[in-house]
Amino acid sequence: MISLTINGQKVEVEPGTTILQAAEKLGVFIPSFCYDPDLTLVGACRMCVVEVERARNLIASCCTPAGEGMVVHTDTERVHEARRANLNLLLANHPLDCLTCEKTGNCRLQDYCYLYGISETDFSGERKDYGFDDSNPFFIRDMNKCILCGLCVRTCHEINGVGAVGFMNRGFDTKVSAAFDDPLEDSPCVFCGMCVDVCPVGALVPKQSVGKGRPWELATVKTVCPYCGTGCGLELSVKDNEIVGVKGDTSSPVNRGQTCVKGRFGLGFLQSPERLTSPLIRKNGELVESSWEEALNLVAQKLRRTRSTELAGLASARATNEENYLFQKLLRTLGTNNIDHCARL
């Protein structure tokens, strides 16, 4: 174990623990933009800097391992000065349209400016001026709001493995983009939307949420994705019984927050007026709504009259493993092995 002192309090941690994690253990808050324990630590945003005695410069606590006997201060004037300068610089290059920004209320840039009392920037001068990328049906990329924390880039490379976005250019012109700055639609992006979840600011916005409500107006509902047998956990944002946002559920052991395009952006059918909500039975050439009881009776009746050699079953990829298991069990009991699955089509 390694023992160190943070703001005068002693703490013991496993070797390899970062200063930030050690501080968390003590309940000491350190702000961060680019830090995510599931991704490579890059030390890019410098919001998490702290003062370590005898070190020449401020130290990024998110990516620096705690050292034996280290004496750390997280809230000195020097630290605050650097964090304020950092926020000041970010604001100088960020559109201040919080009133209409989708991210308001859930934006870390806003939160930290509030925390450090930064209401406007000290610097005038050039700002980024990029066009929107809304080439795809799922989310908008507004790189004018990007603070270049790189979380989306790392998520796409390290979690998804697609690597659709990366950094281009240098210095002030640095930008997150797909190869050749093409629209995302023309890149290898699979629109899993995981980058959207990690973005700390309003640079990546799901189209389904635009104008649909502020975070504090939304209820969160945990559910399981209806699309396939994997059973990813989802967190729905719901307002007035309408789904206005979907995120991966990080507490789900199945997907730990990861999703694919269908679960994330494909739940629109739930609210479709054409969605079937009760069974249909063809009567005199017309499909007519019926009750479950009537429909199931009809199926049972027909099964009874069918010889097993004439029977086959087609299961759905949207059903869970357990449901599909029961389905094949049922058909085998009825004497047929002819069972197939729509995912093959």
Binding site: V42, A44, V49, N57, G125, I147, N169, R170, G171, T174
Partner: protein
Amino acid sequence: MYERHILICAGTGCISSGTISVKDALENELKKHNLQDKVRIILSGCHGFCEKGPIFIVYPEDIFYCEVQAEDVPELVEEYLIKGNVVERLLYKDPTTDMAITSHDEIPFYSRQKRQVLRNCGVIDPESIDEYIIRGGYVGLENALKMDRMGIINEVKSSGLRGRGGAGFPTGMKWEFAYRSPGDKKYVVCNADEGDPGAFMDRSVLEGDPHAVLEGLIIAGLAIGSDEAYIYVRAEYPLAIQRLKTAITQAEEYGVLGENILNSGANFKINIKEGAGAFVCGEETALLASIEGERGMPRPRPPFPAVKGLWEKPTCINNVETLANIPLILRKGAAWYSTVGTESSKGTKIFALTGKVNNTGLCEVPMGISLREIVFDIGGGIRDGKKYKAVQIGGPSGGCIPEDLLDLPVDFDSLTAAGAMMGSGGMVVMDEDTCMVDLARYFLSFTQSESCGKCTPCREGTKRMLEILQRITKGKGEPEDIPRLEQLAAAVKDSSLCGLGQTAPNPVLTTLRYFRDEYEAHIFDRRCPAGVCKELLSYYIDSELCTGCRACVRVCPTDAISGERKEPHTIDETKCISCGACFDRCRFDAVKTK
């Protein structure tokens, strides 16, 4: 038997001023006079005095001709080689006394230097391993092969050698970390990125004495227990790359590189990796990322490369000049090596001396020499009899040193204490006509465009500092700009991820420290004391000199100039935008600035 050897410098500088045509002309002339068997032509490495190139030295007499062009060759052959009359007009002339100097040792530019690392540059044929060996080459390697790893490391440690790549980290200690770091595979990397604008010592060593760097690398490999090295060299150095490739092939043929080096059982392979030439790729972790095929962006340390470097293996990274010192230490011993230099900085350092001095070029001096000696003795003082103002040391990451610190001994620690740094050894001398605000602006524009964009303080902070400096040099500075700059500079220095951002504010901080009055003059008096910042100049017409030719009237974009033909004109200050068009146009020097 040759009676004479002629060395023509074939460094990049001299090649661009005509070496190849001089060599062709000389070959022709020698044939014409049937001297081709008596005189041997050698294309040598850089002599460091590129400004006077092409350099042409005749041995054994050691006659130093400079700025020789192809058309001068017939005269040199006819008059000197045949008749024995020195061609005076092609000799070097001392800028202060105007006396011609024949021998290269008597030229003050050379006589005050201590050429240890550059001992072979300009002396041997860099494409010949034999010439390197005759001058004591690969003896250091032989000695190292007789020692154990800690033996080599201790020798380097006690030599006191510190890294020449910028930070001055003790080389032996770095080797020991890499040696003690557990790993089945280890790498040695030579940093030949040389991104400081104006610095070219590493290029000159690679071009002029490539085997010295190879020998240093092989010894480093032996010391830390590595069998493979990378040389990361920018693609803009094609000649250096070609000479390195030749040297690697020769070293392999001679058995000092490759499998079973000199029958010792040790193996060593050297790869060359060409970089695309980004300043930040000289930073060691960005350099490693670049070799791995990633975008050249620095990574946080720890882990240090000695623990987790190239492909996560323990890696020792050293600069070209650092490595070129190693063969000397292993050949002559640490005790010999440490006789030169100061208490904390041993050996010599090569500087690229440029700017407003009479002699510009590469000079190698003992650590601890004063700046005054470099600027006034080696550099021959300030050009055109102007006044010294400052010298910028350490390139864009360094700082400027004013006149009252001229007696500062040049070593790692005193430069850092003065707010500058050794850096890679760029040295730009400025005279009274240099505006220090404009200078800071220039360096900031460099660091801003070279920032990798990864971390906020450097990416955004250098941009805002640059904008403030631009504003001040345009006469739009605000009184709050000075404290704003100071605050920002402190935050960028204190919280940036890598050395680029941590040092980028240095030019601003040192100019503010030593030349604050110039900032104030720009901001409060709307005046540029050096007369550099165009927008701050005001123009008037000297009525004695003006002929009334109306040339200026036609170029003025704001119709600020009026006057009758053939009568003196005047400038309406309220309309003038200080563009300087009239100043450039007037043939009678009648337009003046104040």
